[in-house]
Symmetry: C3
Subunit: 335 residues, 3 copies
Amino acid sequence: MTIDVRFFDYLGQKKLSELIELTGAEPVSAADVNIISIAASDVAGPSDICFIEGHEKATRAVSEQAAACFVSAKMARHLPDGVVPVIVKQPRWAFVQASRALYRVRDWSVGKATYSVHETAILAPGVIIGDGAAIGERVRIGPNTVIGSGVQIGRDTTIGANISIFCALIGDHVTILSGARIGESGFGVTLGPDGAEDIPQLGRVILQDHVTIGANTCIDRGALSDTIIGERTKIDNLCQIAHNCVLGRNVMMASFGGISGSVTVGDGVMMGGRVGIADHVKIGDGARLAASAGVFRDIGAGEAWGGTPAKPLRQHLREVAWLDRQVAARRSDKK
Amino acid sequence: MTIDVRFFDYLGQKKLSELIELTGAEPVSAADVNIISIAASDVAGPSDICFIEGHEKATRAVSEQAAACFVSAKMARHLPDGVVPVIVKQPRWAFVQASRALYRVRDWSVGKATYSVHETAILAPGVIIGDGAAIGERVRIGPNTVIGSGVQIGRDTTIGANISIFCALIGDHVTILSGARIGESGFGVTLGPDGAEDIPQLGRVILQDHVTIGANTCIDRGALSDTIIGERTKIDNLCQIAHNCVLGRNVMMASFGGISGSVTVGDGVMMGGRVGIADHVKIGDGARLAASAGVFRDIGAGEAWGGTPAKPLRQHLREVAWLDRQVAARRSDKK
Amino acid sequence: MTIDVRFFDYLGQKKLSELIELTGAEPVSAADVNIISIAASDVAGPSDICFIEGHEKATRAVSEQAAACFVSAKMARHLPDGVVPVIVKQPRWAFVQASRALYRVRDWSVGKATYSVHETAILAPGVIIGDGAAIGERVRIGPNTVIGSGVQIGRDTTIGANISIFCALIGDHVTILSGARIGESGFGVTLGPDGAEDIPQLGRVILQDHVTIGANTCIDRGALSDTIIGERTKIDNLCQIAHNCVLGRNVMMASFGGISGSVTVGDGVMMGGRVGIADHVKIGDGARLAASAGVFRDIGAGEAWGGTPAKPLRQHLREVAWLDRQVAARRSDKK
């Protein structure tokens, strides 16, 4: 993915040698190579640096086009030919340092924001708009809401009070209720020499047309890709959608729903209250997740699941009923 | 219920024929009837239009006084005599269109808000107050908080920072902590010809005297009735109370509590952390719900329940203990 | 603990007789004693009043140095010699009245705030800063954020939009995401003659260096001690940390984590999403809590627990698998 400079300042290309110095990696012969950007290992291009961790099999996911790759000594020889291995003890942490050397979230423009607001849009008092933002026809924005630098908002969208929106593209006829947090930095932590460290999040949030986002709900921006909410998807209050999630159209998600990172949710999925989904899980079109379901594996299209850990709903209900009978029976034995 | 024009603009009465045109319903002979308002089917009066969906039995809940009722072809003949059936494929969706034709949430008044603040009230910097709001004696409001149009706040009430309050009547000696969202639109979705669509929420929130609302907690306004929090009820941080709920007095609700739509909670009910209650459930006076209970059925006065799905607490604890013994026994068998 | 006058106004010492009159307690001969402050019973000093409730054994926890102690008639004779028993029906409620007579949260300074902002700090538009606050080098604060009176913020700390921070000391290199609520009043309720009443919360929040706090997360200030988040601890969005909790270093806490009052969490503890911990529980260093765990007892260092109520993770997984087999077997019997 190209990192969107409407939201992130590009700090200029670096020599590979500079990144090596920054990360304490072992010297390489190709130190003069220019590194223009960072990328996930499977999509890295000829001027990108990436990283790889885990089992040796993971090295298969490194693009043959990548310029260089942070990697442990043990895994280095498994990289594709032509990718410069940059050997370092903590490859993910090294990648974080490279990210920081190349990009920075745009700072708030003090006293010099230039943005565009359509003449039919209505901004309440206290609305603050960042540099390069654009607000479309008939948009209404409630008091004390913050629209970050570069944010684009379509037509006929209604935004409540005390909301913050950063690093996001918002469609037409979207509704966002008060206190929602769109485009905050997702929860990504790596261990470095000094302990836990946040991983920069350089993706965006995309809310398609007719999406509704509930009060105090959080939709994190992607790490190296986008978090996308499909058309007419409706999300209740106090929900959490982590980085890189892709939700389809007409998804219904009740209060306290929590979707971990990189989850895919198909069209028309229905979620009761307090549903949780573990990271990287895929939920098929039209699946139904009962209230309080805790989902740790992929679910096929049209299936109904419930319980924690979630099972097919009929099996879950059978277990609940069976357990009930066992204990009731034993109790009457004692009488 | 009468819709409170302090919070919603009335767009003027409509001919039934106009609403029929708007919704694609079948023509009726009584097309000239004036429709003044909308109402729930059981309380609709002689100038109201309502709707009915579901089984034929549901038609019994239509008031004989209703002027007209959106209804499917199949159910139309079961309506009371004198109620004009307006036949349409998606009655709820049609009702939504009628709601929109008759009422609209009051827009933020730009540059012309007239409101009343008692001389003893203290407003911090950044407080924004809507048209027609009234703030009572010795009220204190924290920085960047938003008080919507028409909101009424009693005496000696303390309101924190970055809060938004809309469509609400707030009593005396109420405490609202920072980031709370009072009176946002509840989560109501209907399917229309283009997919999922939000249902307008035209009710209010009423917080009685001495209520406390925690930080970042959300209390949605009612759909066609009010959401009411009774005297001295205390609600912790990050709770969700959906539209039309009625909570009694001295209710205690710990963090992450979630109450779905149209739930009734009696006086003195105690809820541990992360309790969830399904919609339309009734909880009797003095009931106790253990932490993490997921309640899907009515609970009698004074009872203690726990688990998900919740059961009487003693039974739940017996099940937990029994399951523990079964697996422990089997494990020692293997040794 | 000494109550921090940067955050709370001291209303001046009181005669014990004044506090007796305020609470309806029984008269004492030592009515002339000066009460300078309040304290928890085990640390109360020679000018402090405290309270005690519960079983007679609880009286052992009263410091021999305490000036006076609100206590029930039944327990009064068990107090240490030299501590004046102040006999009252509802000792906790009486203590709350004494707290209110001695301290009050600092009101927002209207039009006269004096604070210090380092010249290298960047404040976005709409930031509001209270009297006596201090903002360090290179701190960045996002739009419409509120920094309460007396709050101290270290160097290189980044604070997002629409945040509120009260009664807190914030370290260096801290990151706080939008909508977080730091230092709100914790959830403490006592029953008084008129029903439920909030207990004043007179402690602070301390965020150590390199801490990250997620969007819309709430960290309550302590009641009579501090809520402390250790160095490099990373907390996701929509979490709740109640009063008096002490978290160690490098703790990881995923979304919807909820920690009840006075919990201790050791260094390096890992919590999956939606983990809940009951009040006063202690979690040892390096423990791991699986997603959705509901923890009601202490957990040793390095242990892994899961389920609700939480058990050692292997036992929990065995139970889940066993239940699965039982019901699957019975189902195939029926075929």
